[in-house]
Point group: C2
Chain length 388, copies 2
C-alpha cells in the first residue's frame, strides 16, 4: 500500500475535497449581514457600553428565536453559567452533576459558586449526559433527605443537573428531565454550543429551568465575546438582570446594592454585532447542515471513521462537525490530528475529560466508560458556515 | 431674595454656563479618532473574539502609556480586580483593606476571592485611603504573626491593601506604601477611575505590586466594557494572562487546564475601540483639565460649594468633576441632586458607603468619620471631555 493511500492521507484528501487546499480554521465567523451598519450606528450613538438599545433588541430577538420567554445578555457563556447556577440555588459546598466530557467552563462555573463538580458519563448516541447511567449512579450513590438529594459518600447536597449539548447535538432531555424530577435536582441547560438546535421541536436552552448560550468567536453566531441566560420564569429573569448588573437597586441617583452582584452585562457594541449575526442564523444553520452532507459524502469512502450525526428526534445546529474514529484506528488519534493540522486543516480532539484536569482530579465521579471511549475517538474538523 | 437666586438655582445656572442648556449626561465618550477604521478593520479580519492583533496592540500601548512593564487586557475592571487580588495571594477567609468610600466593584472583587472586605477611612485632601488613620487603626487592631498581619478581632489574615483613586485623584501613595511595608500587606492599586493620573510623576496603577484600569463606557477612554491589569513583574503578568484565559496550557491541540481559570479575556473588537480611544487620551486629558478650569471660574461666585482639585504633587485625569458642599448646605445634598437632574444636568452623589450596603454591613471596619463626611458632601457634575 502506498503512503498516500494510508489512512491519515486519505482523510486529508477527503477533507480537502470539502474545504479546498488553503489553510482552514476550525471555525471562523461569517460577517455578511448588517454587522458594520449596526456597529457603526452603535458607535455613532456613543452608547457602546452597558446600557443601550442593541442590548435590549438582542435580548428580545434571542427570546423570539428560541421561544424562551426571557433572554438576558451577558459578557460570555461562562458568566451566564455562573449566574444560572446561582439562580438554580447552587450554594457553597453543594455538588452539581455535569458530564466529564465538556469544556472546562462548565466545571469552572460550578467552582465559582463555591460548589463541587460531580462528573457523570455520556452517551454514544448523543455525546451528552446518559440519563440511564445517571439514574443507576444516583440510585446507589445518593439518598433523599428532607427533599434534598445527598451524596452518600461526601454528605453534600447535590443541587443541580447541568447537561451540555456537545458540538450542538441535543442530549436526551426527556430522560434527563425525568431523572431530575425523580431525584429533585434543578435542571440547568448548558446550551453554549447549541443555539439553533432543537429537541422534539423545542430549542435547546429552553427545556430546563434556566439555560445558557455562548456567542464566543468560535460559536455559530458571535458577539466577539458574549452569552445569554434563557428562562420562562419572569422572576428568575429579573433576578438574572439584577445579579448581572451589580445588584444595584433602581434609583434616580443612589448607589444601593442589595446583594453581591456581578459586572456581567454585555456591552452594547457587542450586542450590535449580535443583532446582525442573529439575522443570519437561519442561513448559517442551513450552511452547516449542507457542510455536514458534503462531509458525509466524501467520508463515505473512508470506513475507518464515521461522521457524527444528529440524534433521532433532534435537529442539530452542527456547530462543530465531528469524526468518530473506528476501533481499529482509535489509537492513531494523535497521528490524525498531526496529519490534518500539518496539512493546514485545523482539527482538534474533544476536550480532555474533566476528571483528568489537575484542578478537578479529586472531584466525585461516576464510572465514565463512555466518556473515556469518546475522548479517545472524537476529532472535530473544519466547521465554518462559510465552507458550504 | 428671589427664588432664582436661591442656591440650587444659582448652581444650575453656573453649570449651564459651562455645559449649555441642553440635557447633558454625567460622562459620555468621544469617538473622534480612528474608532470606525479600527473596528471595521477588526470585523473585516473576522478576528473579533479572544485572539487578535488589537488585543496585543492595546496591551502594548497601555504599557507604553502608563510606563508599566506589562498590561493584560480583560473583559472589565471588576474582572481585573478579581485577578489582581488572586495574584496578590488573597485567599478564602483572608481580609483585604479597602476604602468604605468606593464603587461596589472594589468590595465585590474581594468577595469573589472568598475573602472579606475590611473598610478603612478616607482623607479630605485626596478622597482616598488615609495612611495615617490606617496606621493608627492597624496598630491597635492587628498583630504580626509569622510575618502575616492578623486582625486581632477576627483572627483572619489581612493580606492586601487596596486603595482606589477616587474620581481620578491619586491617593497618598507614599504614605500607603509605607504602611503596606510596615504591616506586610501587598499593595494592589484600584486605578479604575484614574487612567492618565500621576503621583509624583508616576502613573497611577503602576505604583503597587499590581494595578488595574477600567474602560467601561463612563470612563476616560472606553472599550464598551473592558479593563486591564498593570504590573512590572513578568511572572505575575504571565500568570495574569494564564488565569484570564481559562488557565489552558499551550499545546497544538490538547485541552489541558492546570488550574481554575476564568473567561476574562477582552474581545478583539473591544480592543480595536480601545486602540482608537487611547490615541486620543492626551487630548481627552487636556479637555478634562480645561473643563475643570471652566467650572472653577463659574463656581467662584457660589461660596456654598467648592470644586475638588488634584492633590498636591499629583496630576489628576479629572475623570469626574466633583463639588464639595459646604457645611451650611451639606444637608441639602438631595435638593441639589433633584434640582440639577430636573434641569437636565446629570449629577449624582458619591457612592453609598460600603459598610452601609446590605451585603457588607457586618464586615470589619475602622472608624469612618471622613468617609461619612465626604459621602454627605460630594456631588459629581457633568464631566465629559467633549464639554471643553
Amino acid at each position: 500500500m502506498q503512503t498516500s493511500h494510508e489512512f491519515p492521507a486519505r482523510l486529508v484528501q477527503a477533507i480537502r475535497q470539502v474545504c479546498g487546499t488553503d489553510p482552514v480554521p476550525l471555525h471562523a465567523p461569517t460577517f455578511a449581514g448588517q454587522e458594520w451598519a449596526y456597529v457603526k450606528d452603535c458607535l455613532d450613538s456613543t452608547f457602546v457600553s452597558s446600557v443601550g438599545a442593541y442590548v435590549d433588541r438582542f435580548e428580545d430577538e434571542l427570546a423570539g428565536f428560541t421561544g424562551a420567554r426571557h433572554a438576558v445578555a451577558v459578557v460570555n457563556g461562562t458568566a451566564a453559567l455562573h449566574v444560572a447556577l446561582l439562580l438554580a440555588g447552587v450554594q457553597r459546598d453543594d455538588e452539581v452533576l455535569l458530564p466529564a466530557l465538556t469544556f472546562v467552563a462548565t466545571a469552572n462555573a460550578v467552582h465559582y459558586c463555591g460548589a463541587t463538580p460531580h462528573f457523570v458519563d455520556s452517551q454514544r448516541e448523543t455525546l451528552g449526559m446518559d440519563p440511564s447511567a445517571l439514574r443507576d449512579w444516583l440510585k446507589h450513590s445518593s439518598e433523599q433527605r428532607d427533599g434534598v438529594c445527598i451524596n452518600k459518600q461526601t454528605g453534600r447536597p447535590i443541587r443541580a443537573l447541568l447537561p451540555m449539548h456537545t458540538f450542538g447535538h441535543p442530549c436526551d432531555m426527556a430522560g434527563l428531565m425525568e431523572v431530575a424530577g425523580e431525584f429533585r435536582l434543578t435542571l440547568v441547560e448548558d446550551a453554549a454550543e447549541s443555539l439553533g438546535s432543537s429537541y422534539q421541536g423545542q430549542q435547546t436552552g429552553t427545556l430546563g429551568k434556566i439555560g445558557i448560550l455562548s456567542f464566543n468567536g468560535n460559536k455559530t453566531i458571535t458577539t466577539g465575546g458574549g452569552g445569554a441566560l434563557l428562562t420562562n420564569d419572569t422572576a428568575l429573569a429579573r433576578r438574572a438582570k439584577h445579579l448581572t448588573t451589580t445588584a444595584k437597586q433602581a434609583h434616580r441617583w443612589e448607589f444601593e446594592h442589595d446583594e453581591i452582584g456581578f459586572n456581567y452585562r454585555l456591552p452594547n457594541i457587542n450586542a450590535a454585532l449580535g443583532c446582525a449575526q442573529l439575522e443570519q442564523l437561519p442561513g448559517f444553520l442551513a450552511s452547516k447542515r449542507r457542510l455536514h452532507d458534503k462531509y458525509r459524502d466524501v467520508l463515505a469512502g473512508i470506513p475507518e471513521v464515521s461522521l457524527v450525526s444528529e440524534p433521532v428526534g433532534c435537529h442539530s445546529n452542527y456547530w462543530l462537525q465531528a469524526l468518530m474514529l473506528g476501533d481499529q484506528i482509535a489509537s492513531q488519534r494523535d497521528e490524525v490530528l498531526a496529519a490534518t493540522n500539518s496539512a493546514g486543516l485545523m482539527t482538534r480532539p474533544v476536550w480532555n475529560l474533566m476528571h483528568r484536569q489537575r484542578p478537578y482530579q479529586n472531584c466525585p465521579r461516576a464510572p465514565l466508560p463512555v466518556a473515556e471511549y469518546l475522548a479517545q475517538r472524537l476529532v472535530n474538523i473544519p466547521s465554518s458556515a462559510g465552507l458550504a
